[in-house]
Amino acid sequence: MSGALTWARLSFRQQKWELLLVVLGVAGVTAGMVWFANTLEALRVTSPQCLGGVSGDPRMSFSVPAACQAFLTEYYETENWASNLTNLAWAAPFGMGVILGAPLVAREIDGGTAQLAWSLSRSRVGWLLRRIAFVTLFGLVLLAVLAVGSELLTGAIFPDRTLGEDFVWFGRRGIPIVARGVGAILLGVLVGAVVGRVLPAVLASILVIGVAFTGISLALDQVNRSEATLQPMYAASGEPEQFDMAALDVAFGIETVDGEFMTYTDAFEDGFTPNFTDENGQVFESEADLQAGEPIGRDARLVIAGEKYPLLVLRDSIVAILVGLAALALSAVVVIRRRPA
């Protein structure tokens, strides 16, 4: 046990300032999230009647009672500020990769201490795993705190939704934050091991982590599309369809008369020009077609139902961790083979 504590103490000291600043940042953001969550809940309790049946900015609505105007303005402004914190939660995992991951090996090589460490440690892989373990664990704990805070805040903003089956703010709360953080930290370590100098490693890791996770997101979008179902904007009766607020919007476009789905961009590329839409969501190429009642299709969207949320979270998290593990393996190869200076 004392060995583990010594290991933790030494690891902390080797990256003290970055770890402290990151703790400060996470603590601040999480405290903000909790504060906003409590504030919103307290506001809700004071005037529940004002919130019932109203959505969006009340300044845009003339059906809002005058007595609720001021309350709703305060409520939605608070909500607006709160949602910015969840944007920070989205960015935090990638930031951790750059701040904690990239300098890990780079600093040892840049500072010459790799010669000491790699001559003392009989196995460079063992040394690498020890160093990575502390930082990853540290990052994991902080990100978990942030993930919980973000989940709490989301629940406070959307109290009537079952967050476990709802795609609202997907990627800005919960487990994906933690999993992406692990992946990003390990990717950052790899970049640092390859580059071997702190500042270039930090800069390169911003690019590498950004490109990697953008690629992952695009790839997952394609994979997840198989879970999507087609939902027309309007029912056959001409009434607007009731949207499943918990669903994830994949794409907007047109359901053609043949029952196929194409995005607006696809439509233009295929030679369609969907320039006109009637009040029933039917899409026409020209005013003449509109008058003649000859649509090319109807407005529709591809959505993934809310109950698939756990599946997509699992996919997202597994892919992020797998990418991280691949980066870890490559880091080990680099560390074994590279010169320490």
Partner: protein, 279 residues
């Protein structure tokens, strides 16, 4: 020379860096166990490169190296078990104290003898709670040496540890090293470009110049086998300038007077330079 169970050896070792610079060429070396060997040569002679091939930091371009019979490029872990290493301009962790460094060494090498290292540092009045950043150059070198000694490894490789030390610090460092090596029966290889520093402490001498071994012998034998002549000599190794401005020749055998170790090294370095120039 054929040495039984050499602790350090190289066979046909050559190392080339990018841009075609050969740092080492055709090094064949066998170092017996015990004592302190001085590896001397000018800057860029290849001393650090040679040491780093044994530590596993530089991969040979050609040939092989062995540490206690183990090729570090096939079994790095096995080789490192036999080694304690003091790098050139030892880099310590700025954020750690001296005690932290000993803890770190223990974490990385479970067999590290922390008490032994601590004792060495206490003898030198280096406070354990002092931050590494606030230590003097001499103290940092002593900490690095204490860490290497604490490994209790039978072979110590020290890469120009005296370079940045003042005369008193150099003397203290060599004293600690000699004490430890003689006491533990270890083998040490100490590289330096200042011969006079190592003359008192070392038993063997390797002169490295332009990437080649120019001389490898015991210090006593090297001094006994060479002399200085003030005129050209048929057994001359090379000629070089004396401090008084005159020209002198290092010769094998007898001459006008016995050669000092410094003069032996200078002579071989001069011969190495002229051989390289001729090539």
């Amino acid at each position: 020379m054929n040495v039984t169970n050499p602790v350090l050896e190289t066979r046909g070792l050559a190392k080339r860096y990018r841009r075609g610079v050969w740092a080492l060429q055709g090094i064949d070396l066998e170092l017996p166990a015990g004592g302190i060997t001085a590896l001397v040569g000018p800057n860029a002679a290849g001393k650090s490169t040679l040491i780093k091939t044994w530590v596993g930091f530089e991969k040979p371009t050609r040939g092989s190296v062995r540490v206690a019979g183990i090729d570090p490029w096939k079994d790095r872990s096995g080789a490192l078990t036999h080694l304690g290493y003091v790098p050139q301009s030892p880099a310590l962790y700025d954020g750690l104290s001296v005690e932290d460094h000993l803890d770190l060494a223990r974490q990385l090498r479970p067999s590290f003898d922390r008490e032994y290292a601590r004792g060495r540092l206490a003898q030198l009045d280096i406070p354990a709670d002092r931050g590494a950043r606030s230590l003097s150059g001499g103290q940092q070198a002593q900490v690095a040496l204490a860490i290497a000694l604490g490994t209790r490894a039978p072979i110590l490789l020290l890469d120009e540890p005296l370079a940045s030390l003042d005369p008193l610090a150099r003397r203290e460092f060599l004293h600690v090293l000699t004490d430890a090596v003689r006491g533990d029966g270890a083998t040490a290889l100490l590289s330096s470009h200042i011969v006079t520093d190592v003359e008192q402490a070392c038993d063997r001498l390797i002169v490295l110049g332009v990437g080649r071994i120019l001389l490898h012998d015991t210090v006593a034998a090297a001094e006994a086998a060479h002399a200085i002549s003030s005129t050209e000599h048929p057994n001359a190794v090379a000629s070089f300038g004396a401090p008084d401005g005159s020209r002198i020749w290092l010769v094998r055998g007898t001459g006008d007077r016995p050669a000092t170790l410094d003069e032996v090294v200078l002579g071989y370095l001069a011969s190495g330079r002229s051989t390289a120039a001729a090539a």
